[in-house]
């Protein structure tokens, strides 16, 4: 069994090792290793399209994860205070947001937004005082909203689970001791749910940063990193892509370690 487990780990890490290896390739193709070089890192970071795609992805992932963390936490708190029926309705919708395949989320958002813009844009044009009315179109906003839908549902569930196991005696004790609801929230509830909020934020960030299929439909003229990578796989990959992927891998492993360390440090204090 041990040999099998070792083989599975090798299987999991072989492709990652190859991606990293080819990022140091001296040759022009990501298919033949001809010598060691770090030139592709320089080339990747000076390719304006690639850097633009990376920046877009970082911006979209950060914004949608932040929005999801705020709205999802608020929703999880709100759901503690409503009746069984409202709760069931919300749970069903949140479950749907998680379960419905990304490809369906992508196309349905595309269809709905295109229809919406077809109504709103002429209306804006007719009421706008100047000649250049604002035109709504697909782009950052639609990607952030579509990613945020899944992420918010995820955060709501994670934080909701944490809230369910929260020690209610502490909350009652706090209000018995004449703390205002806000003080109680700030000093009792928030510290206890914070790990869940952070975990939700990180999951949301990774999801958005890695998502291809939803963004593919609703990106409009914008390019995210996965869309850029997908397009370059079609054209033939240069080690540039491997270099960016390696940078992203290193950064995310670093982030995970940092998060682990933070969470580990926080645990002992009550």
């Amino acid at each position: 069994m041990r040999a099998f487990v070792v083989a599975v780990f090798a299987f999991l890490y072989l492709p990652i090792a190859l991606v990293v290896l080819f990022s140091f390739n001296a040759g022009h193709h990501a298919s033949e290793f001809t010598g060691f070089s770090v030139q592709w890192y320089g080339k990747a970071l000076s390719n304006p399209f690639l850097v633009e795609a990376l920046k877009n992805s970082l911006f979209i992932a950060t914004t949608s994860a932040l929005l999801a963390a705020f709205c999802g936490t608020a929703a999880a708190l709100g759901l503690q205070r409503v009746g069984a029926r409202t709760r069931a309705l919300f749970d069903a919708l949140l479950g749907a947001a998680i379960v419905v395949p990304g490809v369906v989320i992508g196309i349905s958002t595309l269809v709905a937004l295109v229809q919406l813009f077809a109504v709103v844009n002429p209306f804006l044009a007719s009421v706008w005082p100047t000649d250049q009315p604002p035109r709504l179109s697909l782009g950052y906003g639609s990607i952030i909203a579509a990613h945020g839908l899944f992420s918010m549902a995820l955060v709501t569930m994670i934080v909701g689970t944490r809230l369910a196991s929260l020690d209610r005696n502490l909350v009652e004790a706090s209000s018995d001791l004449y703390a205002t609801p806000l003080t109680t929230f700030h000093s009792i509830v928030l510290p206890q749910i914070m790990p869940a909020v952070i975990a939700g934020f990180l999951l949301a960030f990774t999801f958005s940063f890695d998502d291809f299929i939803i963004a593919f439909f609703v990106a409009g003229a914008q390019t995210t990193l996965p869309i850029y990578v997908f397009a370059s796989i079609r054209r033939g990959v240069t080690p540039e892509i491997n270099a960016i992927a390696t940078i992203v891998l290193a950064a995310s492993v670093l982030l995970v370690l940092l998060a682990q360390w933070q969470l580990g440090r926080r645990k002992p204090s009550p």
Binding site: V5, V99, V100, V111
Partner: protein, 314 residues
């Protein structure tokens, strides 16, 4: 939202606050109103998001799916079930998906179970968390890049080139159902391992000892105790992977090379290339219905297996 939230709030204010008897009685009405307002404000952003970006889009494709394709592509209003009647035109995509999704989930399970078993019951304690983290880390790198690496490994310069050295020529690995299956196992393995690990880790080890003490062979202990008690985790993992596979697009595109395509590929084609939105919408609605059926069946099975005990992944 706030109306429905009204009643339990009242219950809370009287029932839940028994210990807080010092609450003055007269600001009750006002504080009740404020509580409901706060509840509504907390839920409003999520509710708005769910309505605008989940419910409305779903209604939109439902309407589209009974419409007609406009001559220049896109949508033309109609009320017809012609799109649904036309579903057999994409039978291959449905067939591939409906075969490779359960087969892929099963293959994933067969690889994942021993790993989860080892991690939960056999691995040395101090290694456990590190190994678990190593299962999750691949998730933090782009699936696109990792699948691309498989394109290289399975492609002409990868394994086939190595095999040519030992005399096996003209082996075709990429763009076959086998390659797609391998990509599926690779991509979804962590998702399968984690729920099984969780259910095995919770297992009461004294049961294993009891079973051995009562003369059961290791195999019958495994089948009667370990496997049985981990079935909820197995079901969670299986249905999770299966549901996600139903909407898969990248793996069949990159490793199936247009020869092995899923419903996801049909949808991308219909929406972005041939611009037959009504037909695409009908396929999307069908896909969602299939997912719902799979979820319900999986839920039924796991409830029965575990004797009404449910295990959620999140």
């Amino acid at each position: 939202m706030s109306e429905t939230g009204h009643k339990p709030d009242q219950d809370n204010a009287t029932g839940g606050r028994k210990s807080a008897g010092s609450q003055p009685a007269f600001p009750m009405r006002r504080s009740l109103f404020r509580k409901n307002l706060a509840t509504a404000l907390l839920l409003a952003p999520a509710a708005l998001w769910l309505v605008v970006f989940l419910v409305l889009p779903f209604v939109a494709i439902a309407i589209f799916s009974v419409g007609e394709r406009a001559p220049e592509g896109g949508y033309q209003a109609a009320l017809t079930f012609a799109q649904y009647a036309n579903l057999p035109a994409r039978a291959t995509a449905f067939w591939n998906t409906m075969v490779l999704a359960p087969v892929g989930a099963l293959a994933c399970l067969l690889v994942a179970y021993p790993v989860a078993y080892y991690l939960a019951l056999r691995a040395p304690q101090r290694w456990r968390l590190i190994l678990l983290a190593m299962i999750v880390i691949p998730f933090w790198t782009s699936l696109l890049m990792r699948t691309y690496a498989w394109m290289y490994i399975l492609g002409g310069r990868g394994i086939p080139a190595l095999l040519a050295y030992v005399g096996i020529e003209d082996l075709r690995l990429i763009n076959t159902p086998g390659a797609v299956l391998l990509g599926i196992v690779y991509g979804y393995l962590p998702l399968m391992i984690l729920p099984i690990y969780v259910s095995l880790e919770r297992l009461d080890r004294r049961l294993l000892e009891a079973s051995a003490d009562l003369g059961a062979t290791p195999l019958s202990t495994f089948l009667g105790v370990t496997l049985r008690l981990s079935l909820p985790g197995v079901m969670t993992g299986f249905s999770l992977v299966m549901i996600l596979l139903l909407g898969e697009y990248l793996i069949p595109t990159l490793l199936g090379g247009g020869k092995v395509f899923f419903i996801g590929n049909a949808l991308v084609d219909l929406f972005l290339q041939s611009r037959n939105w009504p037909f695409g919408s009908a396929i999307a609605i069908t896909l969602v219905l299939v997912s719902v059926v799979v979820l319900i069946v999986a839920n039924r099975i796991s409830t029965r297996l575990s004797g009404a005990r449910r295990v959620d992944l999140i």
